[in-house]
C-alpha cells in the first residue's frame, strides 16, 4: 500500500496550488532568461504505479534531455525537467543566440547552458515552495542526461521506490508555442518529505 494513495482531496489541492505557483515562478524565470513568452498548464498530480510510469510519459524510448536537481534540507525533494531532444536543441539555439534549427549535437557548452536553465527554473520553483512551507530547500548543481526517457525516469524513481509502489509526480507542462518548445517539470518528494510539506501547509488530513 502506498501512502500516496491515502492523500485527501484537500491535500491534493494544496499540492496542486504550490505546484501552480512554483511552476509559475519557474516559467517566469525561464521567460526572462530566454526573452520569450513561456506558457504553462495547470499542474497535474499523477499518482501512478511504477509499472505504468514510462508509458504515462509518452514512451520509454523517446529521446529526451533530463535535467535533474536534488535538494537537501528538512524535506528533500527531487526536481526533474524533461525536454524532448528537439525542444532542447531549440532552447540551446535561443540561449546561445544561434538561428533556430542550427544546433545538432549538444556539446559540453550547450549542456552547461541547459543545466543553467534547470538551475534557474528549479531555483524559482523552490523559492516559492520555501515561501509557502517555511522549509529550506537547498538545491544541488543540476545534472544532465540525454537519453531514453525511461532510463532517466527509472533512475529518478529508484529513490522514491523505497516508499511504495507508486510514484507521485507533480507535473507541469511548459511550452513556447512559436518556437515549438515543450517540456515537463516534475517535483518528486522523497520519503518523509511529503508529510513534512503537507504538515507545514497545515493540511495533515
Amino acid at each position: 500500500m502506498s501512502a500516496f494513495l491515502e492523500l485527501t482531496e484537500s491535500q491534493l489541492d494544496a499540492l496542486r496550488e504550490i505546484g501552480t505557483i512554483g511552476a509559475g515562478n519557474g516559467a517566469t524565470a525561464l521567460s526572462v532568461m530566454m526573452g520569450k513568452r513561456i506558457h504553462m498548464t495547470v499542474p497535474e498530480i499523477k499518482i501512478i504505479p511504477f509499472t505504468e510510469v514510462t508509458e504515462a510519459l509518452g514512451g520509454a524510448e523517446q529521446v529526451v534531455a533530463g535535467l535533474f536537481t536534488t535538494t537537501t534540507g528538512e524535506a528533500p525533494c527531487n526536481i526533474l525537467f524533461v525536454l524532448p531532444i528537439e525542444s532542447a536543441r531549440v532552447l540551446v539555439d535561443i540561449l546561445m543566440g544561434r538561428p533556430l534549427g542550427t544546433t545538432a549535437e549538444l556539446d559540453a557548452l550547450d549542456k552547461s547552458a541547459l543545466a543553467e536553465v534547470a538551475n534557474v527554473v528549479s531555483g524559482a520553483y523552490l523559492n516559492s515552495l520555501s515561501g509557502f512551507t517555511k522549509l529550506d530547500f537547498i538545491p544541488s548543481v543540476p545534472a544532465i542526461a540525454i537519453d531514453m526517457a525511461g532510463a532517466i525516469l527509472d533512475t529518478v524513481l529508484a529513490q522514491a521506490g523505497t516508499i511504495g509502489d507508486h510514484a507521485l509526480l507533480l507535473e507541469t507542462e511548459f511550452s513556447a508555442i512559436k518556437e515549438k518548445i515543450t517540456g515537463q517539470f516534475f517535483l518528486l518528494p522523497e520519503q518523509g518529505s511529503l508529510e513534512k510539506i503537507l504538515e507545514s501547509l497545515g493540511v495533515t488530513g
Binding site: 511504477f50 524510448e61 544541488s140 545534472a143 531514453m148 525511461g150 532510463a151 533512475t155 521506490g161 523505497t162
Partner: protein
C-alpha cells in the same frame, strides 16, 4: 508467430518459446533474464532496487533483486522449467547522472547490479553474460528460442550477449 511481451518498471514476466520478453529504457534498473535451454522457457525481471530488507514495506516483490529473482524462478518452474538448468544474462545498472555530492542514489545502478549477482550466486544460477554500468540507457529483448539478449542504446549502438 512470436509475441513480444512488454515488462514495465518493477515488474516481471515469463514466456514460452518463441515469445520475446522486452523491457524498455533501463537506466539504473537492471534487467535480469533467466533461461532454461531445454524447455526454452524464459523469464525477465525489471529490478529497481537492491534489497527488500532496506525498504519500509516490500509490497511489490518484483521491485527488489532479492525478492524478484526467486519469484521469477518460481513462475518459470510453474511453467515447467527446471531450476538446476537455469542460466542468467543481465543488463542495465547505469549511472545516468553524475553529481559531485556523492549522493547515494547516484550509485544505485552499481548497487542494483551487485545485488542481482549476489542473489543469482545464492540461488546457484550461472551468470552467462552481462552488460552493466556505463552512463546510458538500454532497451532489452530476450529471445526464448535462442536465449539471446539484444541490447539497444541511443548513443552506443546495439549489442547481443
Amino acid at each position: 508467430m512470436a509475441k513480444i511481451i512488454k515488462i514495465g518498471m518493477a515488474d516481471l514476466n515469463v514466456a514460452n518459446c518463441p515469445d520475446i520478453l522486452q523491457t524498455a529504457g533501463l537506466g539504473s534498473c537492471v534487467g535480469v533474464c533467466l533461461w532454461d535451454s531445454i524447455t526454452k522457457i524464459g523469464g525477465l525481471a525489471h529490478i529497481m532496487l537492491p534489497y527488500s530488507t532496506q525498504a519500509r514495506s516490500v509490497g511489490n516483490e518484483a521491485k527488489f533483486a532479492d525478492t524478484a529473482i526467486p519469484l521469477l524462478v518460481k513462475q518459470m518452474e510453474n511453467l515447467g522449467a527446471l531450476r538446476q538448468r537455469l542460466v542468467a544474462k543481465i543488463a542495465g545498472g547505469a549511472q545516468m547522472f553524475s553529481f559531485y555530492s556523492g549522493n547515494d542514489i547516484m550509485r544505485i545502478g552499481e548497487r542494483n547490479a551487485e545485488a542481482v549477482k549476489e542473489t543469482l550466486a545464492k540461488l546457484k544460477i550461472k551468470l552467462l553474460a552481462e552488460d552493466v554500468g556505463g552512463n546510458y540507457g538500454r532497451t532489452i529483448e530476450f529471445y526464448t528460442e535462442t536465449g539471446k539478449l539484444y541490447i539497444r542504446t541511443i548513443n552506443v549502438g546495439e549489442k547481443i550477449i
